[in-house]
């Protein structure tokens, strides 16, 4: 089954880190992606730019409404995702627990809607 692991992190925390700590953080994510790849479960992943770069769009009364900023204005913002293909939810949770984001933020695990063949 395919799952998306969405990482929610406090963006302010990142800028509070020293340069060495930031490098260590990036290296941990790189090692994590490497482990996912070696295990043959990684379908795709991306890191997102900060929440302040987000723009939301909706059609309201037939007219597009465009707003600055992320949809949910909370301290923890969607910072990236990993899409993985594993046997079951427990396997997905095991990978989520290894994600560095689980240590300094939250990882949300959601099954993908299966595509009709």
């Amino acid at each position: 089954m395919s799952y998306i692991l969405m990482t929610y992190v406090n963006e302010a925390g990142w800028f509070a880190l020293s340069k060495a700590e930031q490098e260590q953080g990036v290296a941990a994510y790189k090692a994590y992606a490497e482990a996912l790849t070696k295990a043959g479960v990684l379908l795709g992943s991306n890191r997102l730019q900060g929440g302040s770069t987000a723009t939301t769009v909706r059609i309201s009364h037939g007219k597009p409404q465009v707003l600055d900023g992320p949809y949910v204005d909370s301290k923890e913002q969607l910072g990236g995702y990993f899409i993985i293909d594993v046997a079951d939810l427990d396997a997905a949770i095991a990978w989520a627990a290894r994600c560095p984001a689980a240590g300094h933020g939250v990882v949300e695990v959601r099954p993908l809607w299966p595509m009709p063949a």
Partner: protein, 419 residues
Amino acid sequence: MNESPSPEEGAEQARRTADAVARRSYGKLVAFLAARTRDVAAAEDALSEAFAAALAVWPLQRCPANPEAWLLTVARRKLIDAARRRQSGDMAAAQLQLLAEGLQWVAQADIPDQRLALMFACAHPAIEASIHAPLILQVVLGLDAKTIASAFLTSPAAMGKRLVRAKEKIRQAGIPFSVPEREELAGRLDTVLQAIYAAFAEGWSDPEGGDAARRDLTEEALFLARLVSELLPQQAETLGLLALMLHAEARRGVRRTTSGEYVPLAEQDPAQWDAAMIAEAEALLQRASALHVLGRYQLEGALQSAHVHRRRSGSANWAEVVQLYDALLAITGSPVVVINRALALAQLHGPEVALDSLQAIATDERLAQYQPYWAARAELLTRIGAHAEAGRAYEMAIGLERDPAVRRFLQRRQAALSG
């Protein structure tokens, strides 16, 4: 003298008494309520209603002298009501008869302790092995599905469903609430001990102790191990398991610096270990060995003991450690033992021999995602100077580690390769 407590004091006292009873006797009450009907879920429901009634009634009347008996009387009445509502006809009559037979006990002060029988039912071979530990934690100790799910890294909804299914199985398949006969005991006991150790290991994986639910899990597992070794004092492996867990627990706090960094065993200060726990563990191992039945938990306990002795005395005992791993490997055949044995072997015969010994398990697919395998390889490869390969092994270990402090520790080791 006979002043009534204020409502606040009364409520507070009722809550404290109920908490203490839950802590001390939850499993005892469930075991007693479910023993005849084998309906664990109904027993738990009735008991939780009884606790709710206690919190409502005790503040008004003072707590009863024997709160366990009070709870049991109320819970039994709830069970009988529920059985009446649920069924009619012959089935109900049979069920009510079973329930009524138990009533006579309630008048007595001592509730028979059937927790061991309950544990054997929970860890019965007819029930899927991976749910044994969660089931025991819920049924004997009263932990909720949410807490158990976090500890076992699974979703609360899924854990809840699996627990319900396992309880249905106990009832429908007629799994007995009894301690197996002598011939069967050792084998059946092993599944109970495995479940307790699994609970302990899950608790142990929260080294910072920041996660209260997990920290409690090691305490709960120790409580269960003590209970089993009190009820079955002649079983060497129950003593071995308790010794093993006490040895590990004695070093719990020392695994982290005050700033939260990981400290490996070789760098811990033995003076900071809990000496009383270690002494208790050593005495248990002595008692176990006098029973002349060797097993994996005694061997693992003896390994802990050897590590403690080496660090305290400063004298190397790697030959003894390797021997203990050999014996453990012969019993378990576990690749995890091969990894730990390799690290001891490196101390005795050097890293090349150790790396060779890992070849035996290199094709085991489970290890590809097992952090300690990669960490051990990285360490050994570093020692023979194969830095590029060591760096890749560290990369895997870092990617597979879920504890941020251990991850940072591995990253420092990896960085030291190029330094």
